[in-house]
Amino acid sequence: MKEQMTSIISFLINKEVFAFDTLKVRNILEFDKVTWVPNTKDYLIGVINLHGNIIPIADLRMMMGVENVENGQDTAVIVVSEDDKTDSLLGFVVDGVKEVFDLDESELKESVINGNTGLVHSFTGSLHKNDEFIHIIELSEVVQEIEK
């Protein structure tokens, strides 16, 4: 663990549960129309207008190698920012947002992921809760990948 986390937001991708550090999350939106930007990577599906700011949207499902992504009622956009600058706002499309809960560090174990997570390689840790494994994604790595 690099830094202290107090709580996490869990979400679904292809029926598996992942999570972000709550402190990095700025907004959760319903998935709506996205304006596609030409000549960009496939998983960068476009930009949205959030309170007058232009926010790029990345499909986290596509980044993680999910084939046949489908948008349903629960599909959501989690807007994150590593620092507080508008420049670093970034939206991730996920299959659905689950819950916010406090994290007990002692519950955290090293993530056991068997390869198939696409462009997302780095995890802060995993925990077992209510018969589910929740993998916490290291945001900075994902952001770096997008910026590449």
Partner: protein, 679 residues
């Protein structure tokens, strides 16, 4: 609190230093211009006074010595030499340092300063008066000319002056301390008792003062009350005129009758008692309170914020318009229209606030050219045209580095040594012309030198040597000069101290590109080189044409658009070659659907937009032209920087997004190699 004042002082002093520098450069060209000398003196004086007030004591002391030198110059006791000017330039740098660091107590630094002051003092102490002292006082004077002068000083305090604890009597005491003084008090403004407010001041004074001190020393008395008083200091003549009968009786009479003394009156009286008094001397009139505050200083982040807010307002206003139209309620429509008018005005105002004249940046370049040419023993004139052209401050900020580089290049590589110039039949003095002007929605900046120019063949060979182009490539003249902007290209064989510090013209191009500008170079051997920058006036708002490509809306800046054609007036040439025929001319074109990699849904109803690209025209094929649209451009953010075809995004009235196409980049990326035209 005091830190805040200090910061303010430093900020203002930087302006003064700036002014000083500017004046000094002028003085160098016209060493006997009294107005400029006066201006220099004033700037120094303000620095000195402010420095002492805000705890920059070393600055104040140093400036005092410098001021002394210029006081001599001002009084024609010392003439302006190159040495003085050079020393003053050095001093200005020193002052800048001192402003940055404040008072220091490092021993080395102090010794440094002392040495510097000594150098300055050399000028003021040298007793050989280089210029003939002005023969002002006539010898037939009945009043003894003892080097003193007589002044008429008028002090008119505001009514509120007492409220901040200033006692005007102390000012009078100070004046008395400087020499012989006669004071006339005017109290006709004092109201009847019932209207009398004891915290207000109703009096004003006139003082006839004979002193050996200079006008500036008199001004020093008022340094803290400048804003609360109307003060004028007028010189009546040399010598102690108070001893003259006519003058003292005039003063007494004025006091009795409550009649103001005037300079003219006193001079006339003085002249009557002193036959042959030189009247020229009295022309000098120094008024402290001569200008009203015409501008205020605002933190630039506040302006950025204002511009952002206005941009938001414009967006929301567009939404309101849309709503009002759909709603159809005439009252709402009228309101929306009014708000539209207001927000347009507000927008124009806000944007004009963030525009600043180029002049503000040019001073440092003038200085640069001067210093560099001295260093390289070259003789160069830096001429500025269009310094009043205004640009967005963000653009100007981005412009400094590229311009610095361009001008350095011109001085170092462009202009030849004087003897070489003479050999080539040119004037020994080189010229660098900086020219700015409006051209459509852009501002053009040209830096032109009359130096040796660049041989296109040389560039070509060098590019071949460096492996940048193939030896067989056919290139137009313009294209050859473009090579200079490729990375890894630097024309000077050896790296010199002045330019060629590892950054080349490619950096210039990149920097200018960052502010959506273009840069080009042209040169003629033996005649000189011209660098042209084309810059947008503001970064955040553009007039655009809204078009549709596949499902998305895009904005093309109208400034770049030449003409719009419906497809039926256009006939495609050999389509594999991407050329269209319009009115018997062939143009290359880019199918946006192709370059954006989208589906083609409505073949046959497309429209072609002819846009300018460098010195030719290129067509852009779009699905549909929607209309004209004025728009606020928002950045796409760092995650989408990689793609270059889109320079920003704009939020439409209904909240959807239209992307702004950077046509120059688009054409460059897609086509520049394919569509090379022979020329």
């Amino acid at each position: 609190m005091i830190d805040k004042f200090k910061a303010k002082f430093v900020e203002e002093s930087n302006d003064n230093v700036h002014d000083l520098e500017e004046a000094l450069l002028l003085l160098e060209k016209d060493t006997s211009n009294n107005e400029i000398i006066e201006r220099i003196f004033r700037a120094m004086h303000t620095l000195k006074g402010g420095g002492a007030m805000f705890g920059f004591n070393q600055l104040s002391e140093f400036t005092h010595h410098l001021e002394t030198v210029f006081d001599l110059v001002r009084n024609n006791k010392l003439s302006v030499t190159d040495d003085i000017i050079s020393l003053t330039f050095e001093s200005i740098d020193h002052i800048k340092n001192m402003l940055e660091m404040g008072d220091v107590d490092d021993a080395d630094e102090l010794a440094n300063q002392a040495a510097f002051i000594q150098r300055v003092q050399q000028f003021s102490n040298s007793d050989a008066p280089a210029a003939a002292p002005v023969a002002s006082a006539s010898s037939a004077s009945t009043v003894k000319d003892d080097g003193s002068k007589t002044f008429l000083i008028t002090i008119k305090p505001n009514e509120e002056i007492l409220r901040n604890g200033t006692n005007p009597f102390y000012l009078l005491d100070d004046l008395h301390a400087m020499g012989e003084a006669k004071v006339v008090a005017f109290y006709e403004k004092v109201p009847v008792l019932s209207n009398f407010n004891p915290v207000n001041s109703y009096c004003h004074w006139q003082v006839v003062l004979n002193t050996e001190e200079s006008v500036n020393d008199i001004k020093d008395v008022f340094i803290f009350v400048e804003d609360e008083c109307e003060i004028s200091i007028e010189e009546i003549g040399s010598g102690n005129l108070l001893t003259a009968e006519a003058i003292s009786s005039t003063i007494e009479e004025a006091s009795k009758l409550q009649k103001s003394l005037t300079k003219e009156d006193l001079i006339a009286k003085a002249a009557a008692s002193i036959p042959g008094q030189d009247k020229k001397e009295t022309k000098k009139k120094v008024q402290l309170k001569e200008h009203k505050i015409s501008s205020i200083r605002v933190n630039s982040t506040k302006i950025d914020e204002l511009v952002n807010l206005v941009s938001e307002l414009v967006t929301i206003q567009a939404q309101l318009n849309l709503f009002a139209e759909n709603d159809g309620n005439p009252a709402v429509l009228a309101l929306a229209e009014n708000i539209q008018k207001l927000s347009r005005q507000l927008r124009d105002n806000a944007f004009s606030i963030s525009l600043i004249p180029l002049q503000s940046e040019l001073m440092r370049f003038q200085r640069l050219v001067r210093d560099l040419s001295k260093e390289l023993d070259k003789d160069i004139d830096f001429v500025i045209e269009g310094g009043d052209i205004e640009l967005d401050k963000n653009i100007i900020e981005h412009l400094t580095d590229p311009l610095l580089h361009i001008i350095r290049n011109a001085v170092d590589h462009g202009i030849e040594m004087p003897d070489e110039r003479i050999k080539n039949g040119k004037a020994p003095k080189g010229t660098i012309l900086f020219k700015a002007y409006y051209s459509g929605a852009s501002v053009m900046v040209e830096v032109m030198d009359d130096g040796k120019g660049i041989d296109p063949e040389f560039i070509r060979n060098k590019a071949i040597n460096k492996g940048l182009i193939d030896a067989n490539t056919e290139l137009s003249r313009k294209e050859i000069f473009e090579l200079v902007f490729l990375s890894g290209f630097s024309t000077k064989e050896e790296v010199t101290d002045v330019s060629g510090r590892g950054v080349g013209m490619d950096v210039v191009k990149k920097k200018i590109g960052e502010i959506r500008g273009e840069v080009s170079l042209d040169s003629e051997i033996g005649k000189g080189t011209t660098l042209t920058l084309e810059l947008p006036m503001t970064l955040s708002i553009i007039d655009g044409l809204l078009v549709k490509v596949f499902k998305n809306q895009y904005v093309i800046p109208i400034a770049n658009i030449e003409k719009i054609h419906a497809l039926d007036t256009v006939s495609f040439g050999k389509t594999f070659n991407h050329v269209v025929n319009i009115d018997d001319e062939q143009y290359p074109f880019i199918d946006l659907r192709e370059s954006f990699e989208t589906e083609v849904v409505n073949k046959g109803t497309e429209q072609l937009i002819l846009v300018k690209y460098e010195d030719r025209k290129v067509g852009l094929l779009v699905d549909q032209v929607i209309g004209e649209y004025q728009t606020v451009v928002k950045p796409l953010g760092r995650f989408l920087k990689k793609q270059e075809n889109i320079s920003g995004a704009s939020i439409m009235g209904d909240g959807t997004i239209a992307l702004v196409i950077d046509t120059n980049r688009l054409i460059h990326n897609n086509a520049v190699k394919k569509y090379r035209t022979k020329n």
